[in-house]
Symmetry: C2
């Protein structure tokens, strides 16, 4: 598919798709006329990128973790240097922290909403 369709199907501007390619998060073949030609699987890929960006990860990190997320789950051990593993572990832990923080605050917001909705003022004295 061409960039317009990928853009429509992912809700991502063409500009950003080109940016993600420049950052080497996605790859596109080229048609004889120079147009980018995307595979179907790029739809999920872009959605995943969007989700991770939205969750606060920079493209630099996303680029590193994307290979771990590929469907066939083929691990190229040659690529897995100790530094790479260390980076992944660090990032995994940071993500866990983010999840904890987000969950705590999301729950607090939910509680607040529930309290306001039920018009029941929580008892401050206990």
């Amino acid at each position: 598919m061409r960039i317009g369709e990928l853009s429509d199907r992912t809700g991502t501007s063409r500009r950003l798709l080109r940016y993600y390619e420049e950052q080497r998060l996605i790859v596109a073949r080229r048609s004889p006329n120079g147009y980018r030609d995307y595979d179907e699987y790029n739809v999920d890929r872009v959605l995943q990128i969007r989700g991770l960006l939205d969750a606060g990860l920079p493209t630099r990190i996303i680029k590193q973790i994307l290979p771990c997320l590929d469907k066939p789950r083929v691990i190229y051990f040659s690529d897995a240097t100790p530094e790479m593993i260390a980076t992944l572990e660090h990032e995994r832990d940071r993500m866990t922290q983010r999840i904890t923080c987000l969950t705590r605050n999301r729950d607090a917001i939910a509680d607040y909403i529930d309290a306001v909705r039920s018009e029941v003022r929580p008892d401050v004295t206990g």
Copy 2:
């Protein structure tokens, strides 16, 4: 406490503490000499802000959800306009999405790390 101590205790630059104040995420009293004077509770507050920023929330949103997170849990119903509630619900849902995305990817990274660590190549055929 003054800005230097708050900076040290939160690992946040003075520049950013002033920025958060400018964005009205925190408030500081002023000493007679003009120095900012922070309460103890600002330490947790700043840490919370840092966590939310790191999780991808913009200061604009953080400012809105912080009141829900205050310890005494006193709800000022007058502040809770329908628009405000709608915003909070929207943000709560977005946070849930983020959590889902982060969890999924974090788990995938963890699996990858485990697979590499145990030197067991996952069977592609099943």
